[in-house]
């Protein structure tokens, strides 16, 4: 057997990527936030989502300041006026006006306010109740768990929108009730997630150690275990916001959520079908706003999942 060899070339050690890697390997462990940001930043989609979410939140907070008009003020001289770049449009109303002469831009901006509010409200309510129920069922097990999880199974066996419809039927159709209905519908996801995390955490050494040290159930559940289940909950919460916005818009569209003249994106589309042949802008823009906002939250949620999930890191 003959063996020859080329002079081996060693890789150029001054390469930037290698330096970065060395820096990571040699440096002190970065703070969890810095580490999270390092991974999140690499995901361009998530970054784009974050930027859009930032814009939407900005509009939501400053709608009163940036919106050119009152969202429910009707200008009788400008009914169904097309966007400014179309024939018959006016620079006065950038995206045109709706069927009763309300400025689309202002309504969409106030709609952002409502959507962000809906998203946050729903997530806060369902996280508070969902996490509590999940912690209780995962920590106490036994009949508490059976009872809670059976109810959740029942709720999950009914499509979310159907269940929300049923709840709105009981409570009556308006925006607050729609938000409550959506919060209830989203509950099972948080309960299941929390319970699963708690069950996997509660048998770990640190919980046992703390128990030996005399920690009570409340301390165990909220101080010791909960922080370790935070990552999946944060991801689910982000996706929950986008689901809440979608469901609220769907209820608004069906006339069972926000009622006119509230500038909610879904209810703005409630009788949009009348305008498909005559005023495309009334039909197009509210839905586009929903799509972009929900997409942004979903992109962000995906990015969060990848950045927070240690198994995904390679």
């Amino acid at each position: 057997m003959s063996t020859q060899t080329n002079p081996a070339t060693t890789p150029d050690p001054d390469d930037a990527a290698q330096k970065e890697l060395e820096a990571i390997l040699l440096a002190k462990p970065p703070s969890p936030l810095a580490e999270f940001w390092h991974y999140f930043r690499q995901n361009r989609g998530a970054l784009a989502g974050l930027i859009v979410v930032g814009i939407v939140v900005f509009l939501a907070v400053f709608a009163q300041v940036v919106a050119p008009y009152d969202p429910i003020a009707q200008d009788r001289s400008a009914i169904q006026m097309p966007p400014s770049w179309e024939d018959g449009g006016s620079s006065q109303y950038l995206l045109g006006t709706d069927a009763v002469g309300r400025d689309m831009v202002s309504r969409l901006m106030y709609g952002a306010q409502l959507s962000v509010f809906i998203g946050l409200f729903v997530v806060v309510i369902s996280v508070i109740f969902g996490v509590t129920l999940g912690l209780a069922s995962g920590y106490f097990r036994g009949w508490v768990e059976i009872a809670i999880m059976r109810v959740m199974d029942i709720m999950l066996s009914i499509p979310s929108l159907v269940l929300a419809l049923a709840i709105v039927t009981i409570l009556g159709p308006n925006l607050i009730n729609a938000m409550l209905a959506i919060s209830i519908v989203q509950l099972p996801h948080y309960v299941r997630l929390t319970r699963a995390s708690v069950i996997s955490e509660r048998n770990k050494e640190y919980v046992t150690a703390s128990q030996i040290a005399g920690a009570g159930p409340m301390r165990q559940m909220f101080i010791n275990i909960l922080p370790n289940c935070a990552a999946p909950l944060i991801v689910q919460g982000t996706l929950g916001i986008s689901n809440a916005i979608l469901d609220a818009a769907a209820l608004g569209f069906l006339g069972l959520g926000a009622q006119p003249p509230t500038p909610e994106w879904g209810s703005m589309l409630a009788n949009a079908r009348e305008f498909v042949g005559s005023a495309w802008w009334i039909v197009t823009f509210p839905g586009l706003c929903i799509l972009i906002t929900v997409l942004a939250f979903n992109l962000m949620g995906d990015g969060l999942r990848d950045a927070l999930d240690p198994k995904m890191k390679r």
Partner: protein, 329 residues
């Protein structure tokens, strides 16, 4: 002419600008009916080089070689289709973990017959008979009922026998076995090696046995090739190599064998680990771990040279007493 001739095989991963060489200009050959043992620690490139031989390196990995000749034909310069006709027929491979080597969705029978169907054709009945034959050959008890079994119903040793049956289905002339026993119980390991050697001897098939277990190849292999960090460090006939290692790394590997630690308080080890993608030394790749390393070793890479009929990549090959030579020259 040798059955397999590998000249300067190189496998690179990573960017073009800053590649990582998992296999670095390795050359060797395998004669008909010969058993070649390739030995090395994890990360030494022994598995990657055999995957390259099978054409299983995917983008972004890059395989280059001056030649990769099997039975007179260069594998790297033929069409993908023609190469596939050789892969699995004339050259077959078995992998480390038998439990994950079988597709959980199909029966044993289906998976063995598949290889036969691709390369040999024939009708279903012939293929089934041949499968039964193969299962007998690899020592599966009650092969008729085992044929209908799904992989999750088999033990590790049984799975590896099935994997071997699958590999030898088309009577390959070269079988590459990549750590065939690592994932198995110690009691089963010897059985599987015996089986492989028996099949090898019966059909005059060449066998490349890749392992990190020196003791195993010492008994099985005709020739041995020691790899380290993607490079060939030493190769030669098995007997000589064990009697008098010429490379300090081979020497250290042999000393690390438990049976050679007799009389010592502790098992001897080689300090450090195989360099990875980002911590390659500039000179000899072993220099940080070599007890004989000099300034020259740290700054310059040695080439493979012939040393009394042995290929050695070292500036100071060892003499029969295990002492480095030529250090003062």
């Amino acid at each position: 002419m040798a059955l397999l001739e590998v000249k300067n095989l190189t496998v690179e991963f990573g960017s073009e600008k800053n590649p990582f060489r998992a296999v670095d200009s390795v050359s060797y050959s395998v004669e008909r009916g010969e058993v070649l043992g390739i030995v090395g620690e994890s990360g030494s490139g022994k598995s990657v080089s055999s995957l390259a031989l099978m054409g299983l390196i995917d983008y972004p990995g890059r395989v280059t070689a001056d030649s990769l000749t099997f039975d007179g034909e260069d594998l790297l310069r033929m069409s993908a289709r023609k190469r596939r006709n050789i892969t699995g027929k004339d050259i077959a491979m078995i992998f480390q973990d038998p439990m994950s080597s079988l597709n959980p969705c199909y029966t044993v029978e289906t998976q063995i017959m598949e290889a036969l169907k691709v390369h040999e054709g024939g009708n279903k009945k012939q293929r089934r008979e041949r499968t039964l034959d193969l299962l007998n050959q690899v020592g599966i008890p009650d092969p008729k009922s085992r044929m209908k079994a799904y992989p999750h119903q088999l033990s590790g040793g049984m799975s590896q026998r099935i994997v071997i049956a699958m590999a030898i289905a088309c009577n390959p002339r070269l079988l590459v076995a990549d750590e065939p026993t690592t994932a198995l119980d110690v009691t089963i390991q010897a059985q599987i090696i015996d089986l492989l050697l028996k099949l090898q001897a019966d059909s005059d098939m060449a066998l490349i046995l890749i392992t990190h277990d020196l003791a195993l190849v010492s008994e099985a292999a005709d020739r041995i090739q020691v790899m380290y960090a993607g490079q060939l460090f030493e190769s030669g006939p098995a007997d000589g190599l064990f009697a008098a290692p010429r490379h300090p790394y081979t020497q250290a590997l042999l000393e690390a064998l438990p049976e050679r630690s007799a009389g010592h308080d502790r098992l001897r080890t080689i300090p450090g680990v195989v360099p990875g993608a980002h911590d390659r030394p500039t000179g000899c790749l072993l220099s940080p771990r070599c007890r004989y390393a000099t300034d020259k070793c740290v700054s310059t890479q040695p080439l493979v040279t012939d040393y009394y009929g042995r290929d050695v990549r070292c500036f100071y090959p060892l003499d029969d007493n295990g002492q480095p030579t030529g250090r003062n020259v």
